[in-house]
């Protein structure tokens, strides 16, 4: 499937900002089943000091500064990506029990396992806890194959938690989400990761988009989408397997990956420090448009 994604972030200030310096994580990375055909970052007013680099996790980071006074900053990322379908059946390696995987992570020091280690421990938004172990426990009986257990965990998060954009904010701790059983996709991804890490598995946060289809007979609304997030678990041999607890599905052709990290803090789409500016308002619009696929 081929998409054209437009992600626009506007900062509107009540007073002029003298200068600002930013870091964007908006350009999609390539994955085993995703190709980034074109990508472009438009910044207004014109940036200086712009440079793209790869971060620790291999994401595409763009550093830039605005060195002239401004009251509005608009950053638009436009990318064309093609996403290949995932095979439905889990790969054979997925048959390993979750304990076997946890043991491997603790003892094996092959290159592949080493690369998974950064995702095994606490991160700024996700701290392992007894509560998370307790929540994970029913999905992880002895000897259960990893993929089956994680699928069950995803399903339970989907069933047990209410999607409620008004309830949580960026600073709501995971314990609150767990207690009140509500949140948004970011919270659900963090929750899944926290459960997995608490029992010794490596899990990462994936930031991206999902294609939304309008109800039958209605026009698709341009710009009404938003960025999305889910989690992935490390399965030896198979690599990383994605799970979307918000939609209770294994991400397939409709999920577009931008970046991944230990949690949201590693992949915040646009962060910055502004000098001055008074109060600010942020407006985000995302548009995911399916393109005619001439590659097939």
């Amino acid at each position: 499937m081929k998409y054209r994604v437009t992600h626009t972030t506007s900062y509107l200030y009540t007073a002029p900002v003298a200068t600002c310096r930013n870091q964007a994580c908006l350009l999609p990375r390539e994955t085993s089943r995703q190709k980034c055909l074109t990508s472009d970052l438009q910044i207004l007013p014109g940036p200086s000091d712009l440079r793209e680099r790869r971060d620790f996790f291999g994401n595409r980071l763009t550093h830039f500064a605005i060195q002239e006074a401004h009251k509005e900053l608009v950053v638009t990322a436009t990318s064309e990506v093609s996403v290949a379908a995932t095979p439905l059946a889990p790969p054979p390696a997925g048959k390993r029990s979750w304990e076997q995987v946890a043991r491997l992570l603790a003892t094996d020091r092959s290159r592949q396992t080493l690369d998974a280690l950064p995702y095994l421990f606490d991160s700024p938004f996700i701290k392992e806890s007894r509560q998370l172990i307790d929540y994970a426990r029913p999905s992880f009986p002895a000897d259960r194959p990893l993929v089956e257990a994680v699928s069950d965990l995803m399903q339970r998060i989907y069933r047990d938690f209410k999607y409620d954009p008004g309830f949580t904010s960026i600073s709501t701790p995971l314990a609150e989400v767990l207690k009140n059983r509500r949140g948004v996709c970011q919270d659900f991804a963090h929750l899944g990761i926290g459960c997995l890490r608490s029992i010794g598995l490596a899990a990462r946060y994936v930031s991206g988009y999902i294609e939304t289809l309008p109800p039958p007979g209605q026009e698709r609304l341009v710009g009404a989408d938003a960025s999305h997030a889910w989690f992935a678990v490390y399965a030896p041999d198979a690599g990383w397997i994605d799970f979307d607890p918000t939609n209770n599905q294994l991400p397939m052709e409709q999920h577009i990956t931008v970046s991944w990290g230990r949690d949201f803090s590693d992949v915040s789409p646009l962060r910055g420090i502004a000098l001055g500016g008074g109060k600010h308002k942020v407006v985000v619009s995302v548009d995911v448009a399916r393109q005619a696929d001439n590659m097939a």
Binding site: T19, R21, N22, S48, D49, R53, D55, F56, H63, A65, Q67, E99, A102, R103, L105, A106, T107, R109, L117, P118, L120, F121, D122, E128, I133, A136, R137, F140, A142, Y163, P165, S169, I170, V184, C185, Q186, I199, G200, Y209, I210, T212, D225, A226, H228, A229, N247, F264, D266, S268, P269, L270, R271, G272, I273, A274, L275, G276, G277, H280, V282
Partner: protein, 872 residues
């Protein structure tokens, strides 16, 4: 839930986790199964070493009384230099640290061993640091557990791959040592991030040499200058641009930080500007220092700011102290920092358990300098050992944890120890247990007698070429009480000099660079950093404000005394006019003009006392003196040598012991008299000793502007209202006295009191240092002398403003200002003119801040509120 119940309820998942832990690679951690191994190594040495005996003989000759007298002198010097008294402390409390004049002695043989051990340790930690932010082979080979890196807060993810291609990445290193009873040294703490205390060590030495010069005659003591010279060379070599004369700055979190004294002290000693995050800016991938003449490129930053606070863009977003974009500038190779940002990952006591095996692996050598016995709980054997010995071990987290300091078992109840047991069980990898060996003591002079005390010695190293140089000495802090056991992190209550003896007699090492006889050395005059400029400007303003307040207060007190003696109603009316002037000049509203003014005018004593002595009241003499000290302290190396001492003396000693009933008795009057003399000493010192560079210009701009504003306020409050002739003459006399102009006036105008002649003298005379015209004229000249960012022909805003003010003043006819029409109760033209002048000057002050200083700009974090919340 109790621990037992929790354990009973442990589930399948926990068991698996435990089991995987069991299989965790245990290699690497040197494991001691029995406590007390360190003790058994110790020989029972309770007596003094040869050198200590010699030292004690000398001290005996000195006698306790003389020792105490000299100690007090040393303590005074320390206080004066700011080491033990922080002028920025909001509570104004001196730090309770005592100077102990008996140095800690390390023989040259002992030092040779210790030095080799320290250098080896620095080299080892440097290799570990390079691996952690580079290939991470140590994890791969099982030499370091992954959680000691990935789960440690000091590991900064954006810093991976950031290390510059230099020989050494750990530029600075500090180890805290203790001495066992066998005389061996043990490392109790590695401090690789911000080696704290080298400035104090230097300060101790200087004070010691001043107060006890005789002691140095009997011993050959290593000098410290050599270390600082190595440090300077090391910093210079870090520069990747301007290698000949790199621009190096010291970055401090600011005056509120409790080690600010040391930052300022080091900066002044090394000759580098002391800057705060707000003074630096990243542009075009480089770091720049805001200075009076525009932006200046910075090549090396000696930082005294924690790693995670250095760059709010990539590290802690809520940091107000950092420089946004600093990491990117480092990444691009345009600036270097010492220490390398990210070295906080080495500030982890758990590493101590792995150093012996890492030393063998990485250096092929045994670790020379042992650490105190340390068990990291992240591995099951060690964890169980720590849990079994919780009553004997000190437990510390591997990195700072909110609300968790360290567990000292003998300070806790059984229930509290259980809480710790739970903590360790929940996250064992976050804790270590450490054995606190019983330690050797050294003779210390405390509370008038000599006692044995245990101590912690901080040592300092700096990278040089392929290896490290250690400071031959250090900072020794002695324990608070005779019996207290030694505890890491706890600040000792006393400090002493640390002597490393040298067999070579009197080898002179100076801090100065050696020049070749025919070498042509060009003077280097860098433009003044904005922060220093601002402090100098305020030093000038506060010094002048103190003087104006003092003089006016003194006049009023004089009048009060006359009133007491002669009970002349004219005196009372005169005072009632003067009191509001005091409120206006000091801007201490409501004071004698606002609400309840009548009450205060009837009995002004309480308000007067408050204006003299209340430290919490802005505008009072006491608070203005403190502001003066706060402004002058950071720039004291730009002021003449004795100037800071005068400021400190005024600030320290202005604590008038006067009760309300004594106001008007003459006591406070006398106090103010001596204060005015000290203020003159300060202004004389600066006037006679400073080169007429930017620093002097700014100090004087502050002084002239303040004097002009004070004069305007005084005239507005006293001479604008109309009085009857007798009263008017009295008022004029007071104004002349207050502005120190009575003698000049009398001589020039032969005792004819007349408003217009007073105005001629106090407003119009450009050659008279108390006149408004003089202030404006000087301001104009000084402002023209300031460096410009870019040469342009158009006059700057500050030049325009001062030119306007001066032109207005020159154009006005002082005789016209006293014109009255009909029933006027005030001189309207005079008032209007003074208001207009004040407005010009207030504007000028604002413009100066914008043009030359570092106006506070609020940093705000963007992106913190945007979250990902798509559902479908």
């Amino acid at each position: 839930m109790t621990f037992a119940a929790r354990q009973a309820g442990r589930s399948e998942t926990d068991r698996v986790k435990q089991e995987t832990e069991q299989r965790n690679i245990s290699a690497g951690q040197s494991f001691v199964t029995e406590l007390g191994q360190t003790q058994s190594l110790r020989a029972a040495v309770g007596s003094l070493s040869k050198h200590e005996q010699e030292l004690m003989q000398t001290i005996d000759k000195l006698g306790v009384n003389r020792l105490e007298r000299r100690r007090k002198e040393a303590q005074r010097l320390l206080r004066e230099n700011g080491a033990t008294h922080n002028v920025f402390d909001p509570l104004d409390t001196p730090r309770s640290w005592q100077f102990d004049p008996i140095p800690l002695i390390i023989s040259s043989e002992e030092w040779a061993q210790l030095e080799a051990g320290l250098v080896q340790r620095a080299e080892l930690l440097d290799l570990i640091l390079a691996d952690i932010y580079g290939p991470r082979k140590l994890i791969e080979k099982g030499l370091l557990p992954a959680e000691l890196i990935f789960a440690h807060k000091g590991f900064l993810w954006p810093c991976v791959g950031l290390l510059p291609p230099t020989e050494r990445h750990l530029n600075l290193y500090s180890a805290n040592l203790v001495r066992g009873r066998d005389g061996r040294f043990w490392v109790i703490e590695d401090r690789p991030q911000l080696p704290h205390g080298s400035g104090y060590a230097l300060e101790n030495r200087i004070v010691m040499a001043q107060s006890f010069p005789r002691l140095f005659e009997d011993f050959q003591v290593h000098r410290l200058a050599m270390y600082f010279r190595a440090l300077r060379t090391s910093l210079t070599q870090l520069a990747r641009h301007n290698r000949a004369e790199p621009h190096i700055v010291v970055l401090t979190p600011g005056p509120e930080h409790d080690a600010y004294f040391e930052h300022a002290y080091l900066a002044a000693y090394l000759g580098y500007p002391l800057v705060q995050g707000g003074d630096l800016v990243v542009r075009d991938g480089f770091v720049w220092l805001k200075s009076v003449g525009g932006l200046q490129q910075v090549d090396v930053i000696l930082r005294r700011l924690n790693d995670d606070l250095c760059d709010p863009l990539e590290l802690r977003g809520d940091s107000l102290f950092g420089v946004p974009g600093l990491l990117e500038a480092v990444r691009r190779g345009n600036v270097a920092t010492a220490n390398t940002i990210g070295s906080s990952v080495l500030e982890n006591p758990a590493l101590m358990a792995f150093l012996p095996s890492l030393s063998r692996q990485l250096l092929g050598e045994e670790l020379r300098l042992p650490s105190v016995a340390t068990w990291w709980c992240g591995q099951p054997r060690e964890r169980d050992f720590v849990l079994d010995n919780l009553d004997k071990l000190v437990v510390r987290p591997i990195h700072p944890l909110p609300g968790v300091r360290q567990m000292v078992p003998w300070e806790l109840s059984g229930a509290e120890i259980e809480i710790w047991r739970e903590r360790i069980f929940e996250a064992p990898h976050l804790y270590v247990g450490q054995e606190l060996a019983s330690l050797a003591t050294a003779p210390s002079f405390v509370s008038d007698r000599i006692e044995p005390r245990t101590s912690i010695i901080s040592t300092f190293l700096t990278a040089q070429e392929h290896s490290y140089v250690a400071m031959p000495g250090g900072l020794t802090r002695i324990n608070a009480t005779r019996d207290s056991l030694l505890i890491p992190n706890q600040e000792g209550r006393g400090c002493k000099d640390t002597w490393v003896l040298t067999p070579e007699p009197g080898k002179q090492v100076t801090f100065w660079r050696q020049a070749q006889p025919d070498q042509l050395i060009k003077p280097l005059i860098r433009t003044l950093p904005s922060r220093a400029a601002e402090n100098l400007y305020w030093t000038g303003r506060y010094a002048e404000r103190t003087e104006a307040t003092s003089r006016l207060l003194r006049s009023i007190l004089g009048k009060l005394r006359e009133l007491k003696e002669f009970r002349d109603p004219d005196d009372r009316r005169n005072i009632e006019q003067l009191l509001p002037a005091l409120t206006h000049v000091t801007a201490t509203y409501p004071g004698f003009v606002g609400k309840n003014a009548a009450e205060k005018l009837a009995d002004p004593r309480e308000e007067l006392l408050s204006l003299a002595a209340d430290s919490k009241r802005q505008g009072s003499l006491r608070s203005t003196l403190r502001s003066l000290a706060r402004s002058a302290y950071p720039v004291r190396d730009l002021l003449p040598e004795d100037a800071w001492r005068v400021v400190d003396n005024m600030q320290q000693n202005w604590r008038p012991k006067v009760v309300i009933s004594q106001i008007g008795s003459g006591r406070l009057y006398d106090n103010i008299n001596s204060l005015v003399v000290k203020l003159s000493a300060f202004s004389g010192l600066t006037h006679e000793n400073m080169s007429r560079e930017t620093a002097w210009l700014l100090l004087n701009i502050g002084r002239r502007l303040e004097r002009a504003l004070n004069l305007i306020e005084l005239l507005k409050a006293t001479l604008v209202p109309c009085y009857d002739p007798a009263m008017e003459a009295q008022m004029m006399e007071t104004v002349l006295t207050t502005s120190n102009s009575l003698i000049v006036f009398r001589r020039r105008y032969r005792s004819f009191m007349q408003l217009s002649t007073i105005l001629e003298l106090l407003l119009k005379d450009e050659s008279y240092p108390r006149a408004l015209a003089y202030q404006l004229h000087q301001l104009q000249r000084h402002i023209e002398g300031l460096p410009r960012d870019q040469p342009t022909d158009a006059p700057r805003a500050d030049e325009q403003l001062i030119a306007r003010a001066l032109a207005d003043l020159r154009n006005i006819d002082h005789r016209q200002l006293t014109h009255l029409s009909g029933s006027d109760s005030t001189y309207p033209l005079l008032e209007k003119f003074l208001m207009a002048q004040k407005e010009h000057l207030d504007k000028l002050s604002g413009v100066l801040v914008q043009l030359y200083f570092s106006p506070v700009q609020v940093l705000q974090q963007m992106g913190a509120t945007a979250r990902q919340d798509r559902s479908s």
